[in-house]
């Protein structure tokens, strides 16, 4: 597997955990004030962590998965307590993200752990790649979570797909807004 420094691991872990904590302790409680549907405690309509995870998968590839899993597990333990649902939920998060990553890398004949954004051999649009990853991962996430909750809730996968992709769009807009900071930070790191 490609080299992965501890500094990058810490960045990936911190960003994911921050997004998950923001989700669990700020966005989801806020949503509970506005939503009346039965899934409000299970699924968010603005799941920003999904967008963060897609960004990390695109930039770091499979090497980001341990940090994402650990952050998701810690958040789940804090939010749901010690349970099989916590562990399985965190696992579903990375399995659903791994599906578009593996499919993409296999289709462009790269190593399966390769970060898709670094591919000079194929001309592609980063924006559409991000949206494609987000959509495919959200489909997998919705179906796997539906299985986790015993297939009792027919509409649940649609809630997951909607929430994941709205969250991904919000994250993308945020990243675009701070792209000047990203540019400066990159130049500073290069220096």
């Amino acid at each position: 597997m490609a080299g992965f420094s501890s500094k990058t691991s810490v960045y990936a872990f911190s960003i994911t955990l921050a997004a998950l904590l923001l989700q669990s302790f700020v966005i989801s409680p806020l949503e509970e004030n506005f939503r009346t549907d039965q899934y409000v405690s299970i699924v968010s309509f603005v799941y920003i962590s999904h967008g963060v995870k897609v960004l990390l998968a695109l930039t770091l590839g499979l090497a980001a998965f341990p940090a994402i899993f650990l952050a998701a597990l810690i958040n789940a333990l804090l939010f749901w307590g010690v349970s099989i649902t916590s562990f399985t939920g965190a696992l579903i998060g990375i399995v659903s993200l791994g599906i578009p990553l593996i499919l993409h890398n296999a289709s462009v004949k790269k190593d399966l752990w390769h970060p898709p954004i670094f591919n000079n051999e194929v001309d592609f649009s980063a924006l559409w790649l991000y949206l494609s990853f987000s959509l495919i991962a959200s489909f997998a996430n919705g179906l796997l979570h539906s299985a986790l909750y015993g297939f009792h809730n027919d509409a649940l996968p649609f809630y997951f797909i909607l929430g994941d992709n709205i969250g991904a769009l919000v994250v993308f807009l945020f990243v675009m807004m701070i792209r000047r900071i990203i540019l400066l930070k990159t130049i500073r790191e290069l220096g």
């Binding site: 990058t8 695109l58 930039t59 954004i117 559409w128 792209r179 000047r180 540019l183």
Partner: protein
């Protein structure tokens, strides 16, 4: 190099998306000038002067000619993007980096 993957990846995504969405602001020349400015003045907190010496330095380093017009056009664009700020009198050549 490994540590930069995350930043370079995010930069690639945002720059590429900006191009796709028609929001591109910095040309390759702008980015080259910005990186040289940072290389030479990034460590100082106070104002730095961008004069003929910097232009010579820029051309020496890259072996190609960057015109005065291109330099000042790029500086204006970096100002518009709030990456650097002009200081002193309107005719001064002093700038500071955004904090």
């Amino acid at each position: 190099m490994t540590d930069l993957r995350l930043f370079l990846g995010l930069l690639k995504i945002t720059e590429d998306a900006a191009t796709t969405l028609g929001l591109e602001t910095l040309t390759p020349s702008d980015r080259l000038i910005l990186s040289k400015l940072w290389e030479h003045f990034g460590s100082q907190n106070d104002a730095f002067e961008v004069g003929p010496e910097f232009l010579d330095l820029l051309n020496d380093a890259h072996g190609k000619s960057t015109s005065r017009a291109q330099l000042y056009k790029s500086l204006r664009k970096l100002e518009d993007n709030k990456i650097i700020f002009h200081t002193g009198s309107p005719r001064s050549k002093k700038y500071v980096f955004a904090q």
